[in-house]
């Protein structure tokens, strides 16, 4: 008996959250999120590498920018190259050769946003494959099975995704179904000791429904929670209220992941509202169109006005692009080579990660409220240009914007 016991090792949880600092004014916190591949410092922005690559950027470049976790997409990778091949390649980490953490979403969002012919039933989401027209069912079990093959450090439950602009009984139906699907996902997870399954809070823009969802889902012992169903086309006034309602009722000792949020202003405000993790395609997608993110908004490098502008995108930026190239060079390069896109992608990822690092630093040093003030001042030409929702949201956490 003793011999048998000695072979049973108590596996530690694949996720540990250490709260490093909490802002005394807002709901912001700084954490170290210890995951199987490395520690992630939060608040964190996670770049999206949809098809097992961050468009045009090597894993080394991503690592050099300080990225500790990025996203892969279950729908896309589940279609091409498929879970079996990725398993053969030593999971998605092995396939991409990314040594740090990966988060995969469930495929649910793409189902609804990309695939026209989808039908949602209790079983799962039915759709027609865009490649061979075959009918496919993405069930909670199937989604988790694919994500198990992908081997991501954080997996998302399959949720019944409903657009935030939808109202009526469908929203309630989706919320309850998402709870049932969460349970099915938990049951289906083959690797609870290696892969963390996050729940996704739904309920649309209805406080009652969202609260009900929070009550139910927090009963399940999942390692983390995402706030879903937002960042669609809804009004920002409704958006922030749902975010703060959610963080009010999520456990303190578990990470809070706000899905699909990536604009700088949104990030800063939602950190103040208590969120730890964010993802968005926007920074990398907009880069490919020549749009560079800067502390005062964005800069469309392809515009004529930059043809003779010999300073870098942001003179204060330390990214490889800004250290070597001017707006004028990039402007011209967009006419000659794809590398122009890569330069801006690198800059934008650097911008996002640096922003989060600055936020984190300011919280740790007890000056997050001051940081918010100067951030907003830099971003907007004047106080009366501050979006009203940001004023309200920050006021709700004791920040009066000057």
């Amino acid at each position: 008996l003793a011999a048998r016991c000695s072979r049973v090792t108590l596996k530690s949880s694949p996720l540990t959250l250490r709260i490093v600092a909490e802002c005394p004014v807002t709901k912001a916190r700084v954490c170290d999120l210890i995951l199987p591949h490395c520690t992630v410092n939060t608040p964190v922005f996670m770049p999206v590498g949809t098809q097992g690559t961050l468009k045009g950027i090597t894993v080394d470049q991503l690592e050099d920018l300080g990225c500790q976790i990025c996203l892969g997409n279950t729908y896309h990778l589940g279609m091409r190259p498929g879970p079996d091949l990725i398993e053969k390649a030593n999971d998605l980490h092995g396939f991409m050769n990314w040594k740090r953490n990966l988060l995969t979403d469930s495929g649910g969002f793409q189902m609804v946003s990309l695939v026209e012919l989808s039908e949602v039933t209790e079983e799962g989401v039915k759709f027609k494959s865009p490649y061979d027209g075959k009918e496919i069912l993405l069930s909670p079990e199937k989604s988790i099975s694919i994500q198990n093959s992908l081997g991501s450090d954080i997996m998302m439950q399959l949720d019944d995704v409903v657009s935030s602009t939808v109202t009526g009984p469908r929203v309630e139906e989706a919320m309850h179904r998402s709870v049932r699907w969460l349970d099915r996902c938990i049951a289906a997870n083959k690797n609870p000791h290696k892969q963390n399954l996050f729940a996704i809070i739904q309920g649309g823009l209805n406080s009652k429904l969202r609260k009900a969802c929070l009550d139910e889902m927090t009963k399940r012992d999942v390692p983390g929670f995402a706030i879903g169903g937002l960042s669609g086309g809804e009004e920002k006034d409704d958006f922030w209220r749902m975010v703060t309602l959610s963080t009010d009722h999520l456990p303190r000792e578990k990470p809070r992941y706000l899905m699909g949020v990536g604009y700088a202003v949104d990030l800063v405000v939602c950190v103040a509202l208590g969120c730890d993790m964010f993802d968005c395609v926007f920074p990398t997608r907009t880069a490919r169109f020549g749009s560079a993110l800067v502390p005062w908004g964005s800069l469309q490098v392809k515009q004529k006005q930059y043809a003779k502008d010999f300073q870098p995108i942001d003179p204060d930026c330390q990214c490889p692009t800004c250290k070597r190239h001017s707006r004028a060079y990039l402007h011209a390069l967009f006419k000659s080579d794809t590398a122009a896109m890569h330069h801006v992608t690198i800059h934008n990822i650097s911008y996002q990660l640096t922003l989060m690092r600055s936020v984190r630093q300011s919280i740790m040093e007890g000056r997050f409220p001051e940081f918010i003030q100067s951030f907003m001042k830099r971003m907007f030409p004047s106080r009366d240009q501050y979006p009203s929702w940001t004023v309200d949201a920050l006021a709700s956490v004791n920040i009066t914007l000057q």
Partner: protein, 440 residues
């Protein structure tokens, strides 16, 4: 004339034609050098296609000379004039020699626009007409370390008449004389080298005439134009280059434009060419292929014979294929593998076993296949890194072969019978790319 310090030091001349040596005294301060036979670093507007500095510098032993082309630069003349400090600084290029050519070797220009006084280049906004005055104004703005003089090389089409060829020789000489006149008067071009351009189409007498006349001018070296891959077969090319080189001074370098295939490079080195443009790896990258031919010249001739027969077997095997894009097939050479092919879907080997490039050290064929099938930008980045590395490895091996009298061994690798015209039409073969270790 305030010339530069470019100097060709030959250490060997093999069989009276193939030359091995170093081109020294490059750059404004003359501190750079380039081994010959060698190639220039091909760029689009100063950027190696798909690559930023970080990805570029995963490559070691890059050529010290960066090629830029007026076809990319001409439309930005105003910007560069306002910048004032030259193209090298504008592009963020540090510590490299800048060579400025007229055309981009990877793209064939539309014909019919050249006149007695002008040549045209095509930028992103359309055609830009250059007189010698404008050409030289551009050189003064670009401030390269070295450039080719303006030339009419529109003789590469099969239907070019004798009269037209003669005109191209005459015009090119006239352009050269005008360029040199302006050059001598320009302080901005103090220390900058000029290469004359030898034309002559496929007509031997015109080639000889062009070479003789160009050699009379005070140029630092010679570009051989109108011999592009598309224009003629290698036999004729060798014949013409041999005749041309007889007329050129031995101590000045010869740069062949528009030829990049390894077998053609080898043949042209044997005909006395020193320098090439490295656009071939870019073309291979654009068709989703990876260079993988062996240039291993390690000392085991018996193994070489064994491997040759193994290659033939492998080639026989590979006749059953997955889908293949027909367009790729007609341009593809047997120096490369087409990673879009289904067979690579679960091939977890690196592109080339033993290749030390970033792509081969970090990624597998299956991943590259996935990136190509899903149209991901990273495919271009990784393939460009590998193809550039492989190509420069080939040149390195070529120099080593010349130094150690192993050119014949290298030729058995490169001039594989599978390689001749049929190879590209009869279906994809691994051909020269049957995977095995090689030094590179």
């Amino acid at each position: 004339m305030a010339g530069g310090r470019m100097q060709l030091e030959l250490s060997r001349v093999v069989q009276g034609r193939s030359r091995l040596g170093v081109l020294k005294g490059l750059g404004r301060t003359g501190q750079h050098s380039l081994e010959v036979p060698g190639c220039l670093l091909y760029t689009h507007f100063g950027t190696v296609p798909h690559l930023t500095q970080d990805t570029l510098h995963t490559l070691r032993n890059l050529p010290s000379v960066t090629q830029v082309t007026l076809s990319n630069i001409a439309e930005h003349q105003e910007v560069l004039e306002e910048f004032k400090d030259g193209f090298r600084k504008f592009a963020g290029l540090h510590d490299t020699v800048v060579y400025c050519s007229l055309h981009d070797p990877a793209t064939l220009c539309p014909t019919g626009y050249t006149t007695n006084k002008t040549v045209s280049v095509w930028g992103s906004g359309g055609r830009i007409e250059l007189t010698v005055a404008k050409f030289m104004a551009l050189q003064k703005t670009v401030q390269p370390d070295w450039y080719q003089s303006m030339a009419d090389g529109e003789t590469w089409q099969n239907s070019t008449s004798r009269k037209r060829v003669r005109k191209s020789v005459d015009r090119t000489l006239a352009h050269l004389d005008e360029c040199l006149l302006v050059h001598q008067k320009s302080q901005e071009l103090d220390g900058v080298e000029v290469f004359g351009v030898v034309e002559g189409g496929d007509i031997l007498e015109e080639r000889v005439r062009s070479a003789r006349e160009t050699a009379k001018r005070p140029v630092a070296g010679f570009c051989l134009d109108g011999l592009q891959t598309a224009s003629m077969d290698q036999r004729l090319r060798t014949q013409l280059i041999t005749a041309v080189n007889k007329e050129l001074p031995e101590d000045k370098p010869r740069l062949l434009q528009g030829v990049g295939r390894p077998d053609e490079v080898l043949a042209c080195v044997e005909a006395g060419v020193d320098l090439f443009e490295s656009f071939f790896p870019f073309q291979v990258t654009e068709r989703g292929c990876a260079l993988c031919f062996s240039f291993d010249i390690s000392p085991d001739p018996e193994r070489a014979v064994l491997e040759l027969s193994e290659e033939k077997d492998a080639a026989g095997d590979t006749k059953q294929n997955g889908d293949l894009n027909h367009d790729d097939q007609t341009q593809m050479t047997s120096f490369e593998i087409n990673l879009k092919d289904k067979r690579y879907q679960d091939d977890f080997r690196p592109l080339v076993e033993g290749c030390g490039c970033y792509c081969c050290k970090n990624h597998q064929r299956a991943y590259l296949h996935h990136l190509l099938v899903t149209n991901e930008l990273l495919a271009g980045v990784l393939l460009m890194i590998h193809n550039t590395s492989h190509y420069h490895g080939f040149f390195s091996a070529l120099r080593e072969a010349l130094a150690k009298d192993k050119l014949d061994l290298l030729k058995t690798r490169i001039f594989n019978p599978l390689n001749f015209t049929d190879a590209t039409k009869t279906g994809m073969k691994d051909g020269l790319c049957a995977s095995r270790p090689h030094t590179g």
